[in-house]
Amino acid sequence: MKRLWETLQELTRFKSALVGLGILAFIVALAIYTVIAIPYGEAVRLWRGGEDVWRYNPVNAKPAWISYFTPRKLPQTRVLRSEEHAQMEEETVGKTSRKVTITYQFRYTADLPPSELALVYKPVFKKKSPLVSVTWVTPDGREYTFGRITVKSVSVHGRYWYSVSRDQKLVQLFGTQNVEEGLFCRADDPKRVQKGDHRVVITAYLFEPDASIETELVLYGTVHGLAGTDHLRRDIMVGLLWGTPVALSFGLAASLGTMITSVIIAALGAWFGGFVDSLIQRLTEIRMIIPTLPILIMVGMFFSKSIWVILATLLVLNIIESSVKNYRAIFLQEKNAPYIEAARSYGAGHMRIIFRYLIPRVIPWLIPSFVLAVPSYVFLEAALAVLGLGDPVLPTWGKVLSDAYGRGALFQGHYYWVLEPAFMLMVTGFGFTMIGHALDRIFNPRLREI
């Protein structure tokens, strides 16, 4: 314990190690927060939820903080509910039918048009579905009427989604412009937003006495949350947050597991020598020839893409790892150390010597290499995800990156989508490496004065 404390104190001598420790503390805190705030089941539900969960998010929206770096005012998503944001008028038409007029009046001041427009109808009826139509009056007085439909099928939540952006009439009307630009930009300059008050009037005919209707007008923004959204409207933040505990546990478990078995095997070989040692050396050679990544790919392809299965495969493959050679060299040197001979002279058994004398001796070498190996496994997981072998259930940084890459985020300029997971990966890698290098310089006597 005391030595651990001393080591930490010595670490503070290195500026880079301090940065690394800061990063590590942040990552660990983030991981703990994530696991508490978004329990595993919830994370999986959110990530696989699709449209139902994320309907109100824009597609491929940039993170909101982008606005601080641009003089333009970027629109956020606005959901205008008829109960709050509109005036409702009702008049009876004929015997049983009623006409409901919902009038939205809202001011639009952002410098970009919304990324998408949708209307949500929440009708209540028994047999005869309501008939609706929309009239949109722009600030400069243009008036468009569209979306004359019957609100027929209703999803489980009682909502009927109508995409204004894909309204055939509007699409045809605006031609080369998209619908949002058509409605929100100036007539004379189709790229500049016409700021001012929009009026949207929704007329609904209800054919049953108990029928009613509420609506929501959704103006999707171009920015969303801290991390933006992906092609499935998912908040990337969920992926980034949950990627943290996954990456940490994968990296630490792989690094630790690999190291423990390799060290023990190297110690056994070096200590017993002879047949055991040659066997282990041959096995190390064989291990060098077995291609790790291809095998992981095959496992991912034919068996399971679960990150835990991949981890288990990796650990099995790495029972003997190429570092056995390095450890063995150290042990061979150490095995003839006088203190080992002394231990034998007072009767310490083989296992006691291996586990209490040999292995503790190499811990100073092990700790830095353990820390330094963590990032490589974190990146390995990401690499597998990029190859399309990412865990299908869990959100991970690799998955986010892979989605971005696969969806052509680079071609379409959704750089944030690539950069965010990349940033997390890089920062984590940096943290571990900086600490690792500093530890190396503390523990490795040959490096101490260098």
Binding site: E285, I295, M298, V386, Y415
Partner: protein, 371 residues
């Protein structure tokens, strides 16, 4: 003198032969293990059998020709057809048997196939020449991978050793300290830098191509063709370089610093051996064996890292082939590729073992460790 030279040549030959035998043995076992792992110890066979049974029973039950057969008769017919099909596929034999019937097991046949480069036929992918033989497909892609990654590795290797030597001479200078603080940059693998570089130079600045080997359609004139290839190589090479160079420089610098405090180096300095000579004869030369070992390890990890880097850059080598095979679920190609990787690793280990023997007099002259 001449006799001694001959003797050391014989010793070298004997050593090389022993290493070749050891590595061949390792290769055989390694490939066999790869086969077993790739087949999940026979689990994949079970899946295949189930697939065969399902497809045959489906076709029997849906085929109008067998409409008037009873269920019993259909069952019989299915069993017969399945048995035939399994025999055709060789699936009737056990996957692995650890007794005297081992030589008749499928795993052993796979091993022989793998050792004779007979990887069978691809299911979907074919070579540009139209062949579906896995070996031909792989052979076509191999040079691309070798071209890119050998050059990438050698560039990183020689640059880093040169820079490290210069830095170790200037211990404590600004450049030296910079190299120490930049070392963590190499945490990220090449494919990662690939993504970032594509983002900057291809997507954002539009200076260089996103990926591929040559622009499409390929330029007609050889000069333009070569230029296009070079343009396409810049980003992958840079990604590889950035990812490798910092850690490499750092570790070689540290390595040289450690070795330049050896007694014999100090002695040489006292003798008045001039700087460059000192570095060449007293620092570089004695440390060649560990340097070569690390080059071997670097190449081995490079072969693996190549898979992802290539697929990020759509470089038409083995890595991209892997990606294609994964996407189209082309099992023979995947297994074949895995075998090729085992070969590449084996060859790498062997070649470097040989070079090691050339530079270490303890092996050339004999002696060394007797026990």
């Amino acid at each position: 003198m001449a006799r001694k030279g001959l003797q050391s040549l014989i010793r070298l030959a004997r050593y090389t032969f022993m290493r070749a035998v050891a590595i061949f043995f390792a290769l055989v076992v390694g490939i066999f293990l790869t086969i077993v792992i790739a087949n999940m110890g026979g689990y994949v066979d079970k899946i295949k059998k189930a697939q065969v049974e399902e497809s045959i029973s489906m076709s029997v039950f849906t085929n109008p020709a067998y409409k008037n057969l009873t269920t019993e008769e259909k069952r019989e017919l299915i069993d017969k057809l399945v048995a035939l099909e399994l025999e055709r596929l060789g699936l009737d034999k056990p996957f692995i048997r650890l007794d005297r019937n081992f030589l008749r097991s499928r795993a052993f046949r796979y091993l022989i196939d793998a050792l004779t480069l007979n990887f069978g036929f691809a299911e979907h992918i074919h070579s540009t020449s139209g062949s579906k033989r896995v070996w031909i497909i792989i052979k076509e892609r191999l040079p691309y991978s070798v071209l890119l990654f050998t050059s990438a590795n050698l560039i990183v290797f020689f640059t880093s050793i040169y820079v490290a030597l210069v830095l170790s001479r200037r211990y404590g200078s600004i450049w030296d300290r910079l190299s120490v603080s930049l070392a963590p940059l190499s945490t990220a693998p090449p494919w990662f830098y690939g993504v970032i570089l594509i983002l900057i130079f291809a997507a954002s600045l539009r200076l260089l191509p996103f990926g591929g080997f040559v622009s499409i359609p390929p330029p007609k004139s050889p000069f333009a063709y070569a230029l296009s290839v070079i343009l396409h190589m810049i980003l992958p090479l840079s990604a590889w370089f950035i990812s490798g160079i910092f850690a490499s420089v750092y570790s070689w610098r540290t390595f040289f610093l450690i070795y330049s405090s050896e007694d014999y180096v100090e002695m040489a300095r006292a003798k008045g051996v001039p700087g460059r000579e000192l570095e060449r004869r007293y620092i570089l030369r004695p440390t060649l064996p560990p340097i070569i070992t690390s080059l071997a390890l670097m190449l081995i990890s490079a072969w693996m890292g190549a898979i992802i880097t290539e697929s990020v850059f759509k470089w038409p080598g083995l890595g991209t082939l892997y990606m294609e095979a994964i996407n189209s679920f082309d099992t023979p190609v995947i297994v074949g590729l895995t075998m090729i990787y085992a070969y590449l690793l084996g060859i790498t280990v062997f070649v470097l073992d040989f070079v090691y023997a050339l530079v270490d007099p303890r092996i050339k002259v004999g002696g060394g460790s007797a026990t």
